[in-house]
């Protein structure tokens, strides 16, 4: 029997009625245990011995699916591993697990049989089936023979995300000529495998609105729509993408995305006593650094270096110091342990996609990260503290107070806390700065560096940051690519955006992810390269709905995991607010500066990112539309609740913008017909259908009729003037109501 590839075994197993159960078990368990291309199968080569073959076909797969989780490389409960024959013969704390030739004396067999002299196994899920138990027992009876030189399984070493990303070869497809962009090739290959038909390209005007809202968070103007529709050249769309990437509003829009990931939060504490308890009053300087860095297309690697160790990397560059706001944000007046542990937790979630924090109290349950390894990473941050100094920042060299990080407690010792309890340090474990073994890559090269005031800094954070952006680190680029992808498509490639470990979900398109990660790094970690690559793909430009293809495709892939169409998304609160202001020609597009009071977001016109944002204080309109949770928001929730409807249908902000938009559009729309057309295009970015036009014209008449009726007098506005919904001119009132209705239309808040 010659077995070369794992799937052959699966095939062979499927053929045998007796082991169907095992297949079911596999299927059931894939959610937590991915049995990734097991080395032992590939390397085993030829098996002359039937017992050996039986081990590989009937025994090992069952053990892998049902037992390795607790008795494998990651955890070996009771000191027992069952991932090799040798390990089973050797056994654990209570002796050998199997006795060759004697199943009745073998504790492992007894356990799966639920005999009363051992604990029944497996502990979770259904018991093994009769035939599975029979297979195990027969194999033990026949002498428990396994392949020579069997290597115990190491799921971690085999785990996709812990292996370096290498550039995959492009799939060869018959239709390859259609696709110039590798993204499309990978996506098409995955689609083909499932027999999915791609949706057609979205109408040009929808593509334009989509890419505008995605990149700058503002819809295109009518003139921009017209110009694009008229531009027949082949590169028209690509030119739009380039222009938008050059627009400084790109940094504002994507700044907010990255501030979600990096947990931007303004200072808060005890207001009644004017005390700051966490973050810093000057944290907004870091927010401006983020926007500026994105607009300059600073390499993502450089951004990580500056955020984690700007003070060690470039101690005399105020901009680099401001970048350490990423760490400053975690400052906590009351508990240094909480503060440092937050830094460790979120550095690891944001950049590495690892839940390292699980290992704060105990060894990680799924990933091979020991508790000591957690404290090794913590040791990198142990010496730091925050400082505030006046520095000359930015191009204008304006002098501002900046809170930044520097190593102050050079002798601070990191101690392992028993079960994570800060009151129970374990003193006999020596902690050295380090990174988890499994993704060690280049390891940490720690060299002390000189600080701005001539002192010394440990260089640990810089070493950590360098290790993160080293090409040998398998995670950093993949995690970043996933974040960007998710924000363009409304769904990530790896569903668990902060967990690329063994408990995370596998990528929907592994090769695509790796191709993007490798080339992102090669581009000099250029986020603009990444955006351009994604946005110019045909995948991105597909329709979000395609009634003809829908039925068949939806049957196969209802969640659109394979990307047979574009996903529809809802605007974030910032985009809802900023777009209304922009359409009203009222948006103040200036960039940077101290945060404005959050309540002013109702009545003033800056972009939303410039209003106070703390746990307690956020602009109400943003909050209603699922604003980022300041404590952790790697991915925004999208809710649909009545308060959103109330905010748009009754809120004075929406009314004011509706009136402004209507006045602006009325200037060159004499007739109702033209007004309906303009209003529709302005608000939804598309032309109305004939029926829609008819409905809107009817509505205009109704409202005009209503408001020219002198009998019911409107209440006066808050400021004593007429409220925006009740202009004394019935014509104007009716038109404002139409624009207002369109702002409440599903197609306004939806990015299709």
């Amino acid at each position: 029997m010659r077995i070369r590839r794992p799937w052959k075994i699966v095939g062979a197993l499927a053929g045998a009625a007796m082991v169907t159960g095992a297949i079911l078990v596999w299927k059931e368990r894939t959610s937590w245990h991915r049995w990734t291309a097991p080395d032992f199968l590939i390397e085993a080569g030829e098996y002359a011995d039937p017992a050996e073959a039986a081990y590989l076909s009937d025994v090992k797969p069952i053990l892998a699916a049902r037992c390795y989780k607790c008795h494998g490389a990651v955890r070996s409960e009771g000191g027992l591993r069952v991932d090799s024959v040798a390990a089973m013969l050797r056994g654990g704390d209570s002796g050998p697990a199997i006795v060759a030739g004697n199943p009745d004396e073998s504790p492992l067999i007894a356990a799966v049989r639920h005999a009363d002299w051992v604990s029944p196994m497996p502990k979770d899920g259904d018991p093994l089936t009769e035939s599975q138990i029979g297979g195990l027992a027969d194999w033990v009876k026949s002498g428990a023979i396994g392949p020579q030189n069997e290597r115990p399984d190491d799921p971690a070493a085999a785990h996709w995300a812990f292996r370096p990303a290498v550039e995959p070869t492009l799939p060869s497809l018959e239709t390859a000529r259609k696709y110039a962009n590798p993204i499309d090739l990978f996506v098409a290959a995955a689609r083909q495998e499932k027999g999915l038909r791609p949706a057609e390209p979205a109408p040009k005007e929808l593509q334009l609105r989509r890419v505008y809202l995605d990149l700058v968070g503002l819809p295109p103007t009518q003139a921009e729509i017209d110009a694009f529709l008229d531009d027949e050249s082949s590169q028209a769309y690509e030119r739009v993408v380039d222009r938008l990437l050059d627009n400084p509003q790109y940094g504002v829009r994507w700044g907010r995305h990255w501030l979600d990931v990096w947990r931007y939060k303004e200072h808060d504490g005890r207001k009644s006593e004017k005390q700051t308890w966490s973050s810093s009053e000057h944290i907004w300087v870091w927010r401006d650094w983020v926007v500026r860095s994105l607009n300059r297309d600073k390499g993502y690697d450089r951004m990580i270096l500056e955020m984690l160790a700007g003070d060690e990397l470039a101690p005399n560059d105020p901009d680099a110091l401001a970048a350490t706001g990423f760490i400053v944000r975690n400052w906590d007046r009351h508990d240094r342990n909480v503060w440092i542990d937050q830094v460790v937790e979120h550095t690891s979630k944001a950049f590495l996609g690892l839940h390292l924090n699980c290992a704060r109290c105990h060894d990680h349950k799924f990933d091979p990260i020991s508790q000591v390894a957690y404290y090794g990473l913590r040791a990198c941050f142990e010496p730091h503290d925050v400082k505030t100094e006046s520095l000359a920042l930015g191009r204008a060299r304006e002098t501002l107070p900046v809170t930044f990080v520097s190593d102050v407690h050079l002798d601070a010792k990191t101690r392992v806390f028993h079960r994570g309890d800060y009151d129970s340090p374990i003193d006999n474990i020596k902690v050295v700065p380090g990174v988890p073994e499994v993704i060690r890559g280049s390891g940490l090269l720690i060299r002390p560096v000189r600080t701005r005031d001539g002192g010394s800094s440990t260089g640990r954070r810089l070493a950590l940051a360098r290790w993160m952006v080293d090409p040998a680190n398998p995670l950093t680029a993949r995690v970043a690519v996933n974040h960007v992808w998710m924000r363009h498509f409304g769904a990530p490639l790896v569903e668990t955006v902060t967990d690329f470990g063994l408990a995370g979900s596998p990528p929907s398109h592994p090769k695509l992810l790796d191709w993007l990660a490798v080339n992102f790094r090669r581009s000099g970690w250029s986020l603009k390269w990444l955006h351009r690559q994604i946005l110019t793909s045909q995948t991105y430009r597909m329709r979000s709905c395609s009634p003809e293809a829908d039925a068949a495709n939806a049957e196969i892939d209802p969640d659109n995991r394979c990307l047979w169409r574009m996903n529809t998304r809802r605007m974030e609160g910032e985009i809802v607010r900023d777009s209304m202001l922009y359409l009203a020609d009222a948006l103040d597009q200036s960039i940077g500066g101290e945060p404005l009071d959050h309540e002013l977001a109702e009545t003033t016109n800056r972009r939303s990112v410039y209003y106070r944002y703390s746990q307690e204080d956020k602009p109400q309109l943003l909050e209603v539309f699922d604003a980022a949770e300041v404590n952790e928001c790697y991915r925004r929730h999208v809710s649909i609740v009545p308060q959103q409807s109330l905010a748009l249908c009754n809120g004075s902000f929406a009314w004011r913008q509706a009136a402004r938009i209507s006045t602006r559009l009325s200037r060159d729309a004499e007739t109702d017909d033209r007004f309906v057309l303009h209003a529709f295009r302005c608000v939804t970015g598309r032309c109305p259908s004939e029926t829609e036009t008819t409905l809107c014209l009817g509505f205009l008449n109704e409202q005009r009729e209503l408001f020219s009726h002198g009998e019911i007098l409107p209440a006066s506005g808050a400021d004593g003037g007429e409220p925006p919904w009740a202009a004394s001119d019935a014509e104007a009132a009716a038109r404002t109501w139409l624009v207002h209705a369109l702002l409440n239309h599903n197609d306004f808040v939806t990015i299709r």
Binding site: D126, D268, G269, R270, K271, S272, D335, V338, D423, T496, S544, C545, P547, D550, A554, P558, T568, R570, Q615, E616, Q620, D626, N631, H637, V638, S639, I640, V641, P642, Q643, S645, L646, A647, C649, N650, S689, T691, E692, L695, F699, E702, Q703, L706, F707, I712, L713, P714, A715, P723, W725, A726, W737, H740, A741, N744, H745, N746, D747, V749, T750
Partner: protein, 504 residues
């Protein structure tokens, strides 16, 4: 394949199985999922996806939370020993409360730099108490009206928590100190798992001022990883500002808006034809319907003109002291009538006092003497009103506070000067405190659990705060140990255990 085996599998998987003829989707809701439910519980909690559904004893929950820390000693757990040992330090009593097995590091918070820790003298009871009702349960004289309803109440005297700061407010609602995490609140879990019975109002409504950030903020009614649609919807009980973004009071506006919604409905129907699978469009249309009906239905809930003067007086609406909380309690009853599942009322939340107004560091008599009359009559009125309408049987009322107050005099707050004998306040106390339940499936007139002689440690039938949550889930017919979702770990302490001793 048994339906039970599918308990935790994903909904779509479930439907695929059922499509294959291996199981059938059971459309009817049982237990808490009463017939006519409109906002369905989350898929995972629908009939057929649950391993077992107990018969629900309650349909709705009214959750009353006093922010700042109510003294258990001067409310529902009076301790005459405090009078006996007044003026003595703990170590001068026969009770070695500082060295019990329940003592933990929080004990360090019980002193201050100016004095030996925890060694301030015991403060006598600041108010009298007496046996109430037929059950003869002792209740302090600051709670006379609730005391008279004691035969409908099950008092739990043995709660404990861990967060010594006011962020215990969030912990009381989520089971975790905010520094560790901010998991979904008890109300959000209920909304998630039991759905809502009202088509015209949200299923989880919050009244009153929530905790400050210091107290954990809105975490106490948020839904965290369940998604914001399960979070409590904070509404005002003031008829003049019923809703956020409420419509202007104008017939013209109402008429014009009716036209607008009709236009929107028609246009959305048109676009629906092009996007048959867009579920968010459907959900948004429903949100607009709910918003539209809330504009009408919620102000009607707040309009008390159809309540008799006698009822209004029962809740204390005729007195300025009791009016604010009385109104919230009456609104809560009216919301239950409208089918709202979970109504959470905060008392003592104050934007200018991070701690919550019940925080009696300086003078218990002054503080509680002022605070109790604001809520005592309204709460008793609520219980009485629910009972006489036959609603108490199916409505669970829960009263609590984030922690209790210490038996000894507050050391940390140097109010009253250096002379300790003048200090009259009590500090926070996490080792033992009280809450109570009434209605919906709990016994009346019983006491469960016990603190030690000084009211320091809960020593009998100890309950962590999540046991309060588990009791609620249990009474709503929900499996308390299944209140979790895939990918989010919840430990046994997070899930709690129902307090079986008080179940009727």
């Amino acid at each position: 394949m048994a339906v039970n085996g599918l308990a935790l599998c994903d909904r779509r998987e479930f439907l695929r199985w059922s499509a294959a003829g291996m199981a059938t989707v059971c459309g009817a809701y049982g237990g808490a999922r009463a017939a006519g439910a409109t906002d369905e519980p989350h898929d995972a909690f629908q009939e057929g996806n649950l391993p077992c559904v107990r018969a629900a004893r309650a349909d709705a929950v009214i959750w009353l939370c006093m922010l700042g820390g109510v003294s258990h000693l001067e409310s529902f757990d009076p301790k005459p020993a405090l009078n006996k040992y007044a003026g003595k330090t703990f170590s001068a009593t026969p009770f070695d409360v500082l060295n019990q097995r329940f003592t933990n590091k929080n004990i360090d918070n019980m002193g201050s730099k100016e004095g030996p820790k925890h060694e301030s003298h015991i403060l006598p009871l600041q108010v009298g108490f007496q046996k109430q009702g037929e059950s003869g349960i002792e209740v302090s004289d600051w709670w006379p009206c609730v005391g008279r309803r004691i035969d409908d109440i099950a008092v739990v005297r043995s709660l404990w928590t861990t967060d010594f700061q006011h962020s215990a407010q969030a912990q009381f609602h989520t089971g975790r100190p905010v520094r560790m995490s901010r998991p979904p609140s008890v109300g959000a879990w209920v909304r998630y798992a039991a759905g809502s019975r009202s088509s015209r109002l949200p299923g989880f409504i919050v009244l009153g001022q929530p905790p400050s950030d210091f107290g954990g903020g809105r975490t106490a009614h948020e839904a965290s990883y369940l998604g914001p649609s399960y979070a409590g919807v904070r509404l005002s009980s003031s008829p003049t500002s019923a809703l956020p973004f409420s419509p202007p009071d104008s017939r013209l506006y109402a008429q014009a808006q009716r036209n607008e919604f009709e236009l929107l409905r028609q246009m959305n129907t048109l676009t629906a034809q092009g996007e048959p699978n867009d579920s968010s469009r459907k959900a948004r249309s429903r949100a607009y319907e709910l918003a539209y009906s809330m504009q009408e239905s919620y102000p009607r809930v707040l309009d008390m003109s159809d309540e008799t003067p006698e009822t209004q007086q029962l809740y204390g609406l005729d007195e300025p002291v009791t009016e604010p909380f009385g109104r919230q309690c009456l609104v809560a009853r009216r919301l239950v009538e409208q089918g709202v599942r979970f109504i959470q009322i905060y008392h003592g939340g104050n934007p200018n006092n991070d701690n919550g107004d019940w925080d009696a560091h300086q003078n218990v008599r002054e503080n509680h003497g002022r605070m109790c009359p604001r809520v005592d009559k309204p709460i008793a009125g609520l219980l009485q009103d629910l009972k006489r309408r036959g609603m108490l049987e199916r409505t669970l009322v829960v009263w609590g506070s984030e922690f209790g107050r210490a038996p000894n005099v507050d050391f940390r707050t140097p109010c009253g000067g250096p002379d300790f004998s003048k200090r009259m306040g009590r500090d926070h106390h996490v080792f033992g405190f009280s809450c109570w339940f009434a209605g919906g499936g709990v016994k009346g007139g019983v006491v469960h659990g016990r603190t030690d002689e000084l009211g320091f440690h809960a020593v009998e039938d100890r309950h962590y705060v999540t046991d309060v949550h588990a009791t609620i889930y249990h009474l709503l017919g929900l499996p308390h140990d299944r209140m979790k979702i895939e990918g989010r770990q919840r430990l046994p302490d997070d899930l709690g255990t129902p307090i079986h001793g008080i179940l009727a």
